[in-house]
């Protein structure tokens, strides 16, 4: 009995001991063959309790004896250790031959990458944070294969054009869908005017500007249709899935962490032309200081000329210049000094804590960037709060709340050639060499009016001081989702998202300008648009269901309701009363019609319902089949065409897992994949029913009666309009070679897009300007290759060299267009992008120099000029293809201990562009290209009849070579470069996109500080580029689009040049 008692007591104590043992802390270090491994996930098997290894690979976790700890890390073999007596468990992970990386796919579904039958590119926060760039899209440039990103110009905060796998819609939207924390995110560029009239298209911000790149934790780019099918028509152009730090929902025990990021950088104009400083204003080698062109006499002629303001109209304002003559001399830096070095700063603070049941994250970001254009600035402040709570074993609630406020300002920039446009770039890059642009007054001291040497355009300095475009945005985007876990295999989630912003845009010019009534009388236009997206999703998820021993199934079924409204209010005021005071009360007339455009007040509503499902089967973990489909109902078209069903299927097969012998030292991993996907593009709003717009106060007669009008809309309605249909086949391989030193991922795809919704421009003699029809077919095919290579990797010395190569090539062809009609896409009708049957999408069409059959110029025998097709009466023809042949990006990182040097270099091959900037630089004779000018020149060619465009023949029936001598002035002004084809250039371009040098302090140095890590980075963007096929002296960077965000390409009408940035950043964690 005594023994029994003792035994009981003993058991009692043992059990107490074991109870105590349950609470013990296990710690240790995780390493791989190169050293400590941070970020390893450590999870107690069968629970959601977990932690991560820190910067030095150390971890600690509370657990009890008998628990199994699971150590997992991307690209490594997962290891399990059972907790025993020891409190220390050190683990060395070895590289996996299998890619068991988990990636975020459509609708937020996390899947192992190896199971995917289509391409997904992922980026981590390191790829986008601490960059001298507020625009997340521009940060992504060159980092993802198959994605093309072109800024509308170099202004800080201006819009950015993105396309994934090329444009597939002729006139529809080709910009990808952004999904932030699972909820569609509006990224529109709400330009208040188009390229042909008014300011705004060349500068308006794209609304992904509201995302702080420093708040991003990861990005997945879904490119093909099988990857995006669950988003329905919204996903047809690819999907950029962004998880913000505040939207991250992982519940692992990671403790408290703070990240602080600060950068300071300089923003400069990327390039200026090489100016000649030998000749100044005038024509035909004689000086005339009233001219725009620089075909005057030599500066070394020691001439004396009238002061530029020695004009009778300035007699009262500037008596000091009257009768004054000055030496005729070059002001060599007159253009350079107009620009400035802008300073930008970015601050970001992130604090997070997570435990097994609760996690939260607080984010603050502030960016203040001055552009190189005086008066250009973007300030953005963002706040974010996110978290996740596990209410019980069954309920989990996640939420993230983000607020962003931004203020963008720029002096006016817009395409030249447009009606009523203002821009500081119209003539600034080619001001006369002898104009002391920055040294002369630009404003009347009494009236504030424009002062310039000419009366037909505003002085750019006057515009900087007296005109501005601005966009102020307050944006709130948030989501809440509730998940109920029926069991560990079935869960139901309801997610509600709200994304709403108010965008207030303003454009003004003070009175005193010269170029139009708006400029001389003063003009103020203010619009305020409210965009709201409500997004509801109900999602049933099935996980890890074993159908047989070898066949597993995961499924997702969802219902989505998405409603978007845009409601804009605007006022345009003319007739400023008091100079310089910007308020609608200070203007004499107000209207809600833009004098250069249409009504500023309008409403738009669009609803979409979607029902979708996906079933993913796997067989023995080496063969995967995914079937998915979605049905959409859209409010933009009539009932008969409203519902659309899109299926997709994909297969992935991993021979290296299926067949043991397949795997070797050389071939570590191989996957082949095939997929088929479909999607649709619903038409824009209000295209199916007729309207008759009214306009008020369009005329006032002599008796003061105000005349209002009613008129047919320019749009011919099409009640039969339906969605355009896309389908795509994709095949790819993924491989790891040479002990994982080489990774290769390659995809080829072929897409056909039919029933294109065409904005068909009509001859106005039909009574309408345009209609929307379904017609035409575009085929796109392309290849994307991501090659990773680690030439050196030495664990002991810490020296490592990583190299990445991204190659993309896309080719598209308009294979069918109704009736052989050409469809205008963007630009101007006589110099713009077109869809033309049998040609790549977006070819440039314009006038051309008439040539004979052999391609020689035909020359007008009367004056020696080339013959302009437009003058002869020939139809415009295709003069260029703006689609590049291929793009290659290489990024190399060499690291040694804490030091790391990396560079990203890009090469774009081919792609024509039309440049008004280059044309004007040549035409006005300001660059070194036209410096050799004192002789005469003969345009090589044969004489032609200027009336018929046919070659002239001599008595023997031979063509007559041109021998007419011309001065350089005659060649370049109103002659050689005036037809549109003569201002087309090949856009091949080599660019150093990014170079950085960073240093992380060794852990030991930080031991006695509260810092967890500290790193410094010096970083430069766009520091150098070389466009070999543009005229040497122009130094023109073709990576700009004057037509703004949209489907235009390769068109420059004096766009803002690109910028280069360099600076310094610090990142610290606590």
């Amino acid at each position: 009995m005594e023994v029994k008692k003792n035994l009981i007591l003993l058991f009692f104590f043992i059990s107490i001991t074991s109870v105590l043992a349950q609470e013990k802390t296990i710690s240790g270090t995780v390493t791989d063959d190169t050293g400590s491994l941070p970020g390893v996930n450590i999870l107690i098997k069968g629970t959601t309790i977990g932690t991560e290894s820190d910067f030095d690979g150390n971890y600690s976790i509370k657990s009890k004896v008998g628990d199994i700890l699971v150590f997992s890390f991307v690209g490594m073999i997962t290891q399990e250790r059972t907790v025993g007596a020891s409190n220390i468990i050190n683990v060395t992970l070895t590289t996996d031959n299998v890619l068991d990386e988990v990636v975020v796919t459509a609708q937020g579904i996390r899947r192992e990458k190896k199971a995917l039958g289509y391409a997904v590119s992922t980026l981590k926060s390191e790829a986008v944070e601490s960059r001298p760039e507020a625009d997340i899209a521009r940060v992504l440039n060159g980092k993802v294969s198959g994605v093309s990103i072109v800024g509308t110009g170099g202004l800080a905060g201006s819009g950015t054009n993105i396309s994934i796998r090329g444009n597939v819609s002729i006139t529809g939207n080709n910009q990808p869908l952004f999904v932030v924390n699972g909820v569609p995110f509006n990224t529109s560029t709400n330009a208040q005017s188009n390229v042909t009239t008014g300011n705004g298209s060349g500068s308006a911000s794209s609304r992904f500007l509201d995302l702080d790149p420093n708040n991003v934790t990861d990005i997945s780019v879904l490119k093909g249709l099988s990857a995006t099918v669950l988003y329905g028509d919204a996903g047809r152009n690819g999907v950029v899935l962004i998880t913000t730090k505040t939207g991250s929902t992982s519940l692992v025990d990671r403790g408290f962490e703070m990240i602080f990021n600060q950068s300071v950088f300089v923003n400069k104009i990327a390039s200026l032309p090489d100016y000649q400083n030998t000749y100044g204003q005038g024509g035909d080698n004689s000086i005339n200081v009233g001219f725009v062109g620089n075909w005057g006499g030599r500066f070394d002629s020691n001439a004396t000329v009238n002061h530029h303001l020695n004009q009778s109209r300035f007699a009262n304002s500037f008596p000091e210049f009257q009768g004054v003559t000055v030496p005729y001399q070059a002001f060599e830096n007159n253009v350079e000094d107009f620009f400035r070095e802008g300073i930008g700063t970015t601050t970001s603070v992130n604090a997070s804590k997570s435990s097994e049941n609760v996690s939260y994250n607080i984010n603050f970001g502030h960016t203040d960037e001055d552009g190189f254009v005086p008066g250009n600035n973007i300030i953005r402040t963002s706040f974010g709060l996110g978290g996740s709570i596990k209410l019980s074993n069954k309920f989990t609630v996640n939420g993230s709340f983000n607020f962003s406020t931004s203020d963008f300002k720029t002096p006016p920039v817009s395409a030249d050639n447009g009606t009523g446009n203002f821009s500081i770039f119209f003539r600034t890059l080619f001001v006369p060499r002898n104009l002391d642009l920055n040294g002369l007054p630009f404003q009347d001291p009494v009236t504030g009016a424009n002062v310039y040497y000419r009366t037909d355009q505003e002085n750019p300095l006057w515009l900087v001081a007296n005109s501005q475009e601005s966009i102020a945005v307050n944006r709130f985007f948030n989501n809440i989702s509730t998940t109920f876990d029926f069991n560990d295999k079935v869960s139901l989630t309801y997610r509600l998202g709200l994304d709403t912003f108010t965008e207030r845009q303003q454009f003004y010019v003070n009175k005193g300008g010269v170029s139009s009534l708006l400029a001389s009388g003063g003009f103020l236009k203010t619009t305020s648009g409210i965009n709201t997206i409500w997004d509801h999703s109900l999602i049933l998820a099935l996980n890890d269901i074993k159908l047989t021993e070898k066949i597993g199934l995961a499924g997702t079924f969802g219902f989505n309701v998405n409603g978007e409204t845009y409601d804009q209010f605007g006022v345009a005021s003319t007739g400023q009363v008091v100079f310089g005071f910007i308020d609608h009360n200070n203007f004499t007339t107000q209207s809600n019609t833009d004098p250069l455009g249409s009504s500023l007040d309008f409403k738009q509503r669009e609803n979409t319902l979607g029902l979708y499902g996906q079933a993913a089967f796997d067989y023995s973990n080496y063969l995967f089949l995914t079937l998915a489909a979605r049905n959409d109902w859209s409010s933009t078209i009539e009932k008969e065409n409203r519902s659309l069903f899109y299926p997709s299927a994909s297969v992935a097969f991993i021979p290296t897992l299926a067949i043991e012998d397949f795997r070797s030292e050389v071939l570590n991993f191989l996957k082949v994949r095939f997929s088929y996907g479909t999607s649709a593009g619903f038409p824009g709003l209000y295209l199916t029913r007729p309207t008759l717009p009214a306009a008020t106060a369009v005329f006032t007669d002599g008796s003061g009666n105000v005349i209002n009008t009613n008129s047919n809309s320019s749009l011919f309605p099409n009640p039969n309009l339906k969605a355009e249909l896309h389908r795509e086949f994709e095949a790819g391989i993924e491989a790891r070679l040479w002990k994982n030193r080489i990774s290769l991922e390659a995809s080829v795809y072929k897409r056909d897009s039919k029933d294109q919704i065409l904005r068909k421009f009509l001859d106005p003699s039909t009574g309408f300007d345009q209609t929307f029809i379904n017609a035409g077919k575009i085929n796109t095919e392309g290849i994307e290759v991501d090659l990773g290579f680690t030439p050196f990797k030495n664990a002991t010395s810490g020296f490592q060299w990583n190299s990445n190569l991204i190659f993309s090539a896309t080719e598209n062809e308009v294979v069918e267009l109704p009736g052989g009609d050409d469809v205008f896409i963007a630009g101007f009708s006589n110099l713009g992008n077109y869809a033309i049957e049998g040609r790549p999408l977006g070819v440039i069409r314009g006038s051309f120099a008439v040539r004979d059959e052999e391609g020689n110029f035909l020359i007008n025998p009367n004056d020696g000029n080339i013959i302009d097709s437009g003058v002869v009466g020939l139809d415009d023809k295709i003069i260029g293809d703006p689609n590049p042949d291929w793009k290659l990006t290489t990024s190399n990182t060499i690291s040694y201990k804490g030091l790391s040097l990396s560079a990203q270099v890009e090469y774009t091959h081919g792609g024509d562009f039309s440049s008004n900037t280059i044309n004007n630089l040549l035409r006005r004779g300001v660059t070194t290209d036209t410096e050799d000018r004192e002789g005469t020149f003969v345009i090589p060619g044969f004489l032609g009849d200027p009336a018929t465009g046919q070659a002239l023949l001599d008595a023997n029936g031979n063509k007559i070579p041109n021998t007419i001598q011309q001065g350089t002035n005659e060649i370049f002004f109103l002659n050689f470069i005036d037809t549109s084809d003569q201002q087309i250039f090949d856009g091949s371009l080599l660019r150093l996109r990014e170079v950085s040098l960073s240093y992380s302090l060794p852990k030991k140095m930080l031991e006695k500080t509260p810092l967890g890590s500290l790193s410094f980075t010096a970083l430069g963007q766009n520091l150098w580029f070389w466009a070999p096929n543009v005229p040497d002296g122009t130094n023109f960077d073709p990576e700009v689009i004057s037509t703004g965000v949209g489907n235009g390409a390769g068109l420059d009408f004096q766009t803002t040049p690109t910028s280069k940035k360099y600076g310094f950043s610090i990142k610290a964690t606590f």
């Binding site: 019980s392 708006l518 509801h536 409403k603 409010s635 717009p693 421009f761 003058v871 009336a947």
Partner: protein, 539 residues
């Protein structure tokens, strides 16, 4: 477990209600909430747009887009032509898109919409006015382009590529349309619109319709004998023969970016950067010195901004060979036909449009640069058809075809009508010290009649008539271009000083047309209108 299930049920039901009751599930969002629909159309507002767009198509003048008048006036030396007849700063297919749109998509399409509505509501006067504007538009289009879409036009995408039709058949159709217009207006108690031309005056609209027919017959005189039709119109006495019946568009002084109501030339020129165009040396000289004395209309037509003589940088033509008039003297800053020298900043110095017909400033030796409200503030007119024009046409017809009337008397009447119109245009603006007197007018007329009498043959006489008509046409280059193509007169139009290219017998088709309409191809400017059988030697 039960409570969790219950909780879940509650939440689930709540969510379903939220989703289904939500406004985001409504798919009937097809009507644009910001625009009117056809059921709410207003005939008066439609007719307003028709008149304004008709006027715009002809008279508009801006940097990039111009009405028919601008290019026509450049061809015939009424406005300065910069460079070749067809070139980047003159006629290009891209710079005339808007006029085609104003004619077809706006005016003619709205007429198409208006007529059935007006028939339904028995607004006969609206029908009449709309048809007269329709006829005037088509006649102008034929005279400008030669062949244009007509019977296949205005059907939207149901006929996206309307073919052009011969000018003769469109003319024939317009004679019928004009007869229909007259009979609609003559319907007893027809409801007239309060229009911008005649304020709903039935008699004046009928005169305008008959005058248009008269003009069309005279225009066709090279291809047939229409003297009986012309005589019938003259004897019916229903033509515009009195200035009070003039078919003009009256502008006002209201400057506005969204409702500009001033003469388009005034709006372009009378502002801070001054004149955007030069006066043509030849045309100014016609009034200034051609006859050896000043035309009484000189100071009404042209306005000198500065009392300076252009020299140096301001006179690029100096010393260049081939100029007819590098400089006219007396502070008239003008340019020769086709002069494309670089442009100095002389917008506030060039001689520019005066009081008549754009409502600018009378030249009373003020020598003040133009500014926003100078002169008559832009309350000018566009003279579509004046009594003086009708009399010049009658004189031509009487001389050549022998129709009713004495050509010499008609010439005198025509000049007197022109003088009356110009000299009394805005009397308040005229500085009496520089106003033309009746004696000036009489002296002028006797000089011209002397020229007429001295002419050796009908050709010489017609040259005198057409030159006087040409001078009277200031502000309407279209009729001057029509006359020149029909008669080759005035015979002494100045030469082009540079490379002119072919003289345009018609416009190129607009870029918007050739780029969108597969049935219309671009054509040469040497293509002639059906009534133009003149030799090819015009330049």
């Amino acid at each position: 477990m039960k409570t969790i299930k219950d909780k879940f049920k509650v939440i689930f039901i709540f969510l379903l209600v939220f989703i289904t009751g939500c406004e985001n599930t409504n798919l009937e969002l097809l009507d644009n909430p910001s625009a009117l629909t056809p059921s709410s159309v207003d005939p008066t507002l439609l007719l307003n747009n028709i008149q304004l767009q008709f006027q715009t198509a002809i008279a508009f003048n801006e940097d990039n887009e111009d009405g028919v008048n601008v290019r026509a006036a450049e061809f015939v030396r009424m406005q300065h032509l910069f460079g070749a007849y067809a070139g980047p700063f003159s006629l290009t297919s891209g710079s005339i898109d808007d006029l085609w749109t104003s004619f077809f998509r706006e005016a003619l399409q709205d007429i198409n919409t208006l007529i059935p509505i007006a028939e339904e509501r028995d607004l006969q006067g609206f029908i009449g006015v709309a048809k007269i504007i329709q006829a005037f538009s088509y006649v102008t289009l034929v005279d400008t382009f030669g062949e244009v879409p007509f019977s296949e036009a205005l059907q939207g995408n149901d006929n996206p590529n309307p073919s052009v039709e011969g000018g003769q058949s469109i003319y024939n159709a317009m004679f019928i349309i004009l007869d229909e217009a007259i009979s609609a207006i003559n319907t007893p108690n027809s409801v007239m619109p309060n229009d911008l031309f005649y304020g709903g005056d039935r008699a004046k609209w009928i005169k305008a319709a008959n005058t248009l027919k008269f003009k069309m017959y005279v225009q066709m005189r090279l291809i047939g004998d229409f003297s009986s039709e012309i005589n019938a119109l003259i004897s019916a006495g229903n033509l515009i023969t009195d200035a009070s019946d003039d078919f003009v568009f009256q502008y006002s002084t209201v400057a506005s970016a969204t409702g500009e109501s001033r003469h388009p030339y005034y709006a372009l020129i009378y502002d801070a950067d001054g004149s955007d165009d030069y006066m043509n040396s030849y045309y100014v000289n016609l009034l200034k010195a051609d006859k050896g004395f000043e035309d009484p209309r000189l100071r009404y037509y042209f306005y000198r901004q500065v009392q300076e003589t252009p020299t140096g940088d301001d006179l690029p033509c100096e010393g260049e060979p081939g100029f007819n008039f590098c400089h006219l003297g007396d502070f008239y800053w003008t340019r020769d036909h086709g002069d494309d020298d670089g442009v100095p900043p002389d917008g506030l110095k060039r001689t520019t449009y005066g009081l008549y017909p754009i409502g600018g400033a009378f030249d009373g030796d003020d020598f003040t640069s133009v500014n926003l409200n100078a002169g008559a503030g832009g309350a000018g007119i566009f003279p579509f058809m004046l009594s003086s024009y009708v009399k010049f046409l009658q004189a031509e017809s009487a001389l050549v075809l022998g129709t009713t009337g004495d050509p010499r008397n008609l010439l005198e009447d025509a000049i007197r009508d022109s003088m009356d119109k110009v000299l009394n245009f805005a009397p308040g603006q005229v500085n009496p010290a520089f106003a033309a007197s009746q004696a000036d007018v009489d002296n002028y007329i006797s000089f011209v009649l002397g020229q007429y009498d001295a002419a050796g043959d009908n050709n010489g006489r017609l040259d005198v008539i057409m030159k006087e008509y040409y001078i009277a046409l200031w502000g309407n280059g279209i009729e001057a271009w029509n006359n020149y193509r029909r008669t080759s007169f005035p015979s002494d139009l100045s030469d082009h000083v540079s490379t002119s290219g072919e003289f345009p017998r018609t416009f190129l088709y607009p870029a918007t047309v050739v780029n969108t309409n597969s049935n219309i191809n671009q054509k040469a400017v040497t293509t002639k209108v059906f009534w133009d059988t003149n030799p090819d030697d015009l330049d």
